[in-house]
Amino acid sequence: MNPGLLPSPLEVLQTFWSRLTQAGLLVDMLMSLQRVLAGLLLGMLAAVPIGFLIGWYKPVRRFIDPLINFFRALPPIALIPLVIVYLGIGELAKIVILFYASFFAAVIVMYEGMMQISPVYIRVARTLGATDLEIFLKVMVPMTVPHMLTALRVALGVGWATLVAAELVAAQRGLGAMIQNASAFFDLRTIYLGIICIGALALLMDVALRKISERLVSWQDKADS
């Protein structure tokens, strides 16, 4: 194999240093982080109630479920033209693509989680007089916190993985934009640097998420041997 195609770790490190000091790598990271976070947040905000709706109301499920399964299979790249036409090339356009990706990854996990809630808890809540909304807020939401966290973790990965596509919409800065500019000029070191930065940021976010999630589901009786 041609060794020239894979930059050595040292070369990537050099590139890291020079981009950090001269090319504003931090700005790129920050921009991308902001976008992913915004997309993720909006995606989860939509996925939780919609996951509930389709997990809960059979008629809604029958109607929405196929729609969701159709749209979540569409490549985010395919959205770009639509997004450009309707939303232009600003920040919103990129966030919408990330939103799209995280929403669809999360909603299906949420929905399946809802379906696995033991019916006895819902029954108990009903006999205590809980309304549908109260059952949602006080039973479904806490019971699906573990699933929500799974959904969030899935969405997190998908979000970062979609970043490059999102930043195809005319991003000037950001890790995805950096990778694309670098690929246009076959600058492998920067490409790999960008990839590593994405992986590292995602990893950090995931670690943070797991710390939070351990707190939130401390009530769970987990298997450990």
């Binding site: 006895v120 006999t127 205590l128 007089g129 109260e134 039973v139 916190v145 009530w219 009786d221």
Partner: protein
């Protein structure tokens, strides 16, 4: 106890479950009513359909034919007027002991109460159930009997008009159980509640109820309705009287016969 207003009525109720091996007839044309202030116990062999009947009164399932009426109207769903204590407890694992008890109080249906009033109710039941020192614990840290008591507290805390209970004391030792009996009678005596209790302890049934329904083996019918003539409030000493033990023995005997029938049927393997 005087004759009083009919509240819940099982009117020619039948129930069939759909199973992979075909329909399973569980309840056959059963009729009985629960009057205001009644304490009715259902006893009968395991698997005869007691939980099924309770679920109908609670509003979770509907009979295949016949009707279950509350004040003359068919029951269409669960409601806070009918507090249910489930055989599997259904203690919320994500809430602490005190949050579990307060759950119903914090619902809209629980009505408006001051935080102080709620706290008092919670504290009272924590103490009555012997769970005070576990108020901040999650259910996974409780023993089986403690979970059962927690479920009881949660049901009592909302003060439902009807209390429907499915083997609510099964996981308790004799003494705790006896204390729970006292508590139940106290709560009822004080507030005139109507109770439907499923139990395997004939002694418990006789001690607590004004009426015991002996249910037959599947497909179940009412084998016998035994009126319990002892006046409320009742004392523990009642259990040592000859009348009490005679009644108990009679019902015991009745259930025994039922069991034999169930046995025979199961061995024949004709139900499914």
């Amino acid at each position: 106890m005087q004759e009083s207003k009919e509240r819940i009525r099982f009117d020619n109720v039948s129930m069939q479950y759909q199973t992979p091996a075909g329909p399973l007839e569980v309840v056959r044309q059963m009729s009985f009513s629960v009057n205001q202030g009644d304490f009715i116990s259902l006893v009968g062999p395991s698997g005869c359909g007691k939980t099924t009947l309770l679920n109908m009164a609670a509003g979770f399932i509907r009979p295949t034919s016949g009707a279950v009426l509350l004040d003359g109207k068919p029951i269409t769903g669960p409601g806070p007027d009918r507090g249910v204590m489930f055989q599997e407890y259904g203690v919320f694992p994500w809430l602490t002991v005190e949050q579990n008890i307060a759950f119903g109080l914090n619902l809209k249906a629980g009505g408006k109460r001051s935080a102080q009033a709620k706290k008092e109710i919670v504290d009272r039941y924590l103490e009555l159930m012997g769970l005070s020192s576990f108020r901040k614990a999650y259910p996974k840290m409780l023993s089986g009997g403690m979970r059962q008591r927690l479920a009881l507290a949660r049901t009592y805390a909302v003060h439902p008009e009807f209390v429907l209970m499915d083997e609510p004391f099964g996981a308790l030792d004799a003494q705790t159980r006896s204390a729970m009996h006292d508590l139940l009678l106290e709560v009822l005596h004080a507030e005139g509640k109507t109770v439907l209790l499923i139990t395997h302890s004939v002694e418990e049934a006789v001690y607590l109820s004004n009426k015991v329904l002996v249910i037959s083996a599947r497909p179940s019918r009412i084998q016998e309705v035994v009126d319990i003539p002892f006046p409320y409030p009742r004392q523990h000493t009642l259990q040592d009287t000859a009348e009490f033990n005679a009644l108990r023995a009679r019902i015991h005997h009745q259930v025994m016969r039922e069991y034999a029938a169930q046995e025979a049927q199961a061995s024949a393997g004709n139900a499914n």
